[in-house]
Point group: C2
Chain length 230, copies 2
């Protein structure tokens, strides 16, 4: 039998970097809010996927109205809404507390990354089942430098560097233990939280299309990319 | 008096990653080959800019025909053509050997990066004049991990990492000395060559729009982005 999979979709963003008053996860691309594309990805991958959506309290009413407006979205794609915290760490904690008892593998994913390839999800859940974690990452296209003391900086060996995306998939127990730690400013993603709890991180290769939509340029790219998929 | 500026534009690419037989630097965006946009950037910044274009020998005839076809491009934007080598390092060496005697500051730039902001060029040449080098770089948007021994990998502090672009601007003498070194597989850009020769690298903040056009998705983005500039 397949292990029970859960996706925690974290949608905490405002519209500030987008120059918009509408939080970016609600902006439409291809005729549908970004967040709906993202939720649909996971359900398309596994019709049994349990979806948890973490939303700021102030956005819940708006989202529920959007769902009705978009062809009764939450009836076709049922999802459990959890209120976000004041930081991403707290939002993830809230999502993890809402995990169903039978959950085994849990993907945490940015609400504004609507272009995960189905193949990435397949490889990711397989790796997480085998190794306990699977964090999606790509190789950098650019040379990489590291800042040092004062004005100094030096080249890093690019072939050893990976740029981390989401989803980041973990055994439920690893996540529960990791998010019991106190919050730290060094936690920039879930992998860094899980690593700090002493677990090892396995990487799975992603695709460059899996962008996080945060700027007007990203939105432009997203709309253009969607047209190529039709 | 302003110091004499030179731009060495390195255009060695084939069309392979683009799924095209036309080398990517010749693909049209906004009605003009990418490479012409790139050359024009530097001349727009400084009408006295000396332009050196490094091209594979097999592409020179094609380029010269393109120039005639595009409104006699090389008459309006005169540039000196230098033959490329079998590696980027050798192509840069050939460009450096062709530097005019009075050159003081030399920008090396990818032929397929047509979106450098004029402000970036301004800040870059100013910094290179003051410090000897100015390498354009941006902060990563993603978390960063570094591969270690065997399967191990660990988080790096993202705030200390920079993703390097071009142009990379140097005092002429630094480049001449740096490119007298034997080639190494650790040289992934000009900054790594200059650093290996014992000079210090100064970084100047770039923009995310300054992409290197290498994939069909990049090309799509470039076309869409150009439309927003009109």
């Amino acid at each position: 039998m397949n292990s029970q999979k859960v996706a925690i979709i974290v949608a905490g963003g405002s519209g500030s970097r987008m120059g918009s008053s509408l939080p970016k996860q609600f902006i439409e691309i291809g005729g549908m809010p970004i967040l709906m594309h993202t939720l649909r990805l996971f359900r398309d991958f596994d019709p049994q996927m349990h979806l948890i959506l973490v939303l700021p309290e102030t956005q819940v009413d708006f989202w529920e109205k959007l769902c009705i407006q978009f062809d009764d979205f939450s009836r076709k794609f049922p999802h459990h809404i959890v209120l976000g915290g004041t930081t991403r760490f707290q939002s993830c904690q809230n999502g993890i507390q809402a995990l169903p008892a039978r959950a085994e593998l849990v993907a945490i994913h940015d609400g504004v990354r609507p272009f995960v390839a189905q193949e990435t999800l397949k490889k990711g859940f397989q790796m997480a089942a085998a190794k306990g974690s699977a964090v999606v990452a790509v190789s950098p296209k650019d040379s990489i430098r590291m800042l040092g003391e004062k004005d100094e900086n030096h080249a890093l060996n690019r072939s050893q560097i990976r740029l981390v995306q989401t989803p980041q998939i973990f055994q439920k127990e690893w996540l529960v233990q990791a998010y019991a730690q106190p919050e730290s400013h060094l936690f920039t993603d879930d992998a860094s939280v899980v690593e700090a709890a002493g677990f090892s991180i396995s990487l799975v290769e992603g695709t460059y299309e899996n962008i996080k939509i945060t700027t007007p340029e990203d939105l432009l790219w997203a709309n253009t990319f969607l047209k190529t998929l039709v």
